[in-house]
Subunit: 442 residues, 2 copies
């Protein structure tokens, strides 16, 4: 084809390709999350990427609406690409509730699209990895949400991290105590900016937007500084709480006790009265998860409890609790902390095609090793051994098994440890067991 | 919310939700495929769902172009949703070839969209699960492609299936022998309809569209009836083949020998000279895979070899070979053959919340069982035991572990086998081991 007819290979602004090493890391995170979700009884669902725009815009007026990838389809329908997995969940549960039965515990791993301004580390297409328990008000479900987060992070190799809890009811109760119950929305919007803009700006906003007096603003900021073990903080704020405020405090106390019973180290759970996220959404417990060594990366898993998931689509009242794993943040953190392999292959064993006429024998050996549970990549062309081994070095295989004419005759093989260990010569009948033993040890 | 403001929960025509049992089955198929792909050294990639329309329309003029979901994005760009994973692969390899190195073995599991007329079992959104080896002409790579297909089907539980091979070069050579080399395209298009319209219609089309005489049409149909073991069929057609035709025959003979060496039963591999699919695309080997018990379902995994993947995007010549798993067809077949569980949960163990004040103890037990490798769903509300057990029956858990006040005191538990086996009473310290033993045996 003439160069003039060639099309420049490129991706859209704000979109990206995943190369193999990045994709292997992503699959590791998602597989780990799915495995934990399943172990708690969550089940997978999937919903279409495209939905009627009216479904996606259901609540109306939010920032995400402007970011919707929206168009007219072949049938003249007004459609859009989903921008989160929560609205599709609400639509799904409303549509299928009789088949599902309650409680309903689902996970959903899916791509979402938002036409926002691309920034470093933020894309217009990204993967979400959510789990929710619908149809129960039980604080046990809140505790399980935190347990799932804890287990996913632990299995990914994180050791120093903290679950921060708060409760919308408790916060409302505290604002009542200060005399600002009426402007709770404005107060929480101001507080939500605390870590970004600092207390002075927040204090000014509390006065200008929430109608707080200087002493009220000071009292709120004072409260928002409270952070520590649930059992330490609660007694300092519980006095004089209204009924809903006290219910929030009681829920937090229950959750804290449940987490301890399930074996979560108490140092990893704190009550943080400054968390004011998800204002228009969460009505009960709110969760954030911070990595102690990388606080600036933000919360890597956030969620909370809501009163009613799907009121836009059904008259059934569906309370629930859930959270969303920040896959991109977790991957960035794992790279920074060295918790993820940079390998470009999932196959531990590389088998060079050294003697061309023996192709069938190499294939037979590769099959035999795979039958024993090993992952084996066979090079397809009889190129120079050096070329083949450089390929393996670049990919990151763990071992290369070199078998030339002599080894074929002698029934042996050379096992090269590509991570720098010692090379060995082994009888081929012992190869599978020897490799499995080395891999299990490492 | 008033009913009048409520939005009807519905999906777009041609789109569908996956409920948990369907999604568990799909995850099982995809996880199995990924695991096999990885065991052969294939690595995952991902590419954006949205691409510049000019990239997707690169080749131009095909049926898929009309089916493209295409629109103008926020920045006025002409964009579309990918309709396969092959064009994105071509674009990806052209764009990143220096980072990738050759050969490059990738798999890609991703959603694609086609605005075609919805039919029974055909949707406008579906999952593709492709694997390809780029950058080698070796017949070993063709054989590995067939091996991967074979291994995926075997691991999914299929026993009676057949890989059908053909070769575009051999077909061309045979047409040369009949004197119809010039109209190969028209001949193959006619042959492609054979199983649908029968030999008489194909014969008529060969004469009207490919300019064949009655005897030429008869000779072609005669050849297309040849189907059987490669080593049986090849000798009957090899005499007098042109050089490219003989090269095709030699490649098929190599592949057949490689598959035998790798342990594929010879009964599962046939040469089928009627396969004429992918005319505008495949240039060498062509693969189809049929289930012996469900031939009408069509090929469940198809693929082939191509000369040049990405000539639209790069001057680099990139030959390759690959195949695409028909996930929806496989799922339909597995359901029909009883190879897939209809369960609505991945958790084997159900733990009713029987004594409300013991919530923490149930949580602790669930954590302990998970720590032993079991999947455990704890019911979040202390409802009547019957209600909780009906929930478990519906979901399809394997066991329910009932612990009331007496059992808590005695350190025991009742193990109910929800599949109909006998109930047992066990000391709780023995529970994990007993459950694991039963599950391993089944």
């Amino acid at each position: 084809m003439a160069d003039s007819r060639r099309i420049e290979p490129r991706t859209l602004k704000g979109f990206r390709d995943y190369l193999p090493s990045a994709m292997l890391a992503r699959e590791h995170v998602v597989d780990t999350a799915r495995s934990v979700y399943r172990s708690f009884g969550f089940v997978p669902i999937d919903t279409p990427a495209l939905e009627y725009a009216e479904i996606l815009l259901g609540k109306g007026g939010s920032e995400t609406d402007k970011q919707l990838f929206r168009f007219e389809d072949h049938g003249g329908r007004d459609v859009g690409l989903r921008f989160d997995l929560t609205i599709p969940l609400a639509r799904f549960v409303a549509q299928h509730s009789s088949e599902l039965g309650m409680p309903f515990k689902r996970y959903h791993v899916g791509t979402v699209w938002r036409g926002e301004k691309p920034q470093r580390g933020r894309y217009r297409e990204f993967l979400q990895c959510d789990f929710d328990t619908i149809g129960t008000m039980s604080a046990l479900a809140d505790a399980e949400t935190a347990l799932v987060i804890h287990e996913v992070l632990a299995r990914l190799g994180f050791e120093r991290f903290t679950l921060r809890l708060n409760h919308r009811g408790l916060l409302n109760g505290l604002l009542e105590g200060v005399g600002l119950a009426e402007s709770a929305g404005a107060v929480l919007r101001a507080l939500d900016k605390l870590s970004k803009v600092g207390p002075d700006v927040v204090s000014a906003e509390l006065m200008s937007e929430a109608g707080a007096s200087a002493s009220q603003a000071e009292a709120i900021l004072e409260t928002s500084r409270l952070r520590g073990p649930v059992a330490e903080i609660l007694p300092r704020v519980e006095a004089g709480l209204s009924v809903p405020g006290a219910a929030g405090a009681a829920a937090l106390a229950d959750i804290d006790a449940y987490l301890a019973a399930a074996g979560v180290p108490t140092s990893r759970v704190v009550l943080d009265l400054s968390i004011a996220r998800g204002l228009d959404y969460y009505t009960g417990t709110v969760f954030e998860t911070f990595l102690d060594d990388l606080p600036a990366i933000g919360s890597v898993c956030s969620g909370g409890r809501y009163d009613d998931l799907a009121s836009v689509y059904t008259k059934e009242t569906l309370p629930g609790v859930g959270a969303s794993l920040g896959v991109d943040r977790l991957l960035a953190a794992m790279e920074e902390l060295g918790l993820v392999s940079q390998r470009g292959t999932a196959a531990d064993v590389f088998l060079p095609l050294f003697v061309a006429e023996r192709a069938g024998d190499y294939l037979a050996l590769a099959s035999q090793l795979r039958g024993a549970g090993l992952s084996v990549e066979l090079y397809p062309d009889p190129r120079k051994l050096g070329v083949q081994l450089r390929y393996a070095d670049r990919r990151g295989h763990r071992f290369a098994i070199v078998i030339g004419d002599n080894e074929w005759s002698a029934g042996t093989c050379q096992v090269k440890d590509l991570t720098g260990g010692e090379d060995r010569v082994l009888p081929r009948v012992e190869l599978a067991v020897a490799l499995l033993r080395t891999l299990t040890r490492s």
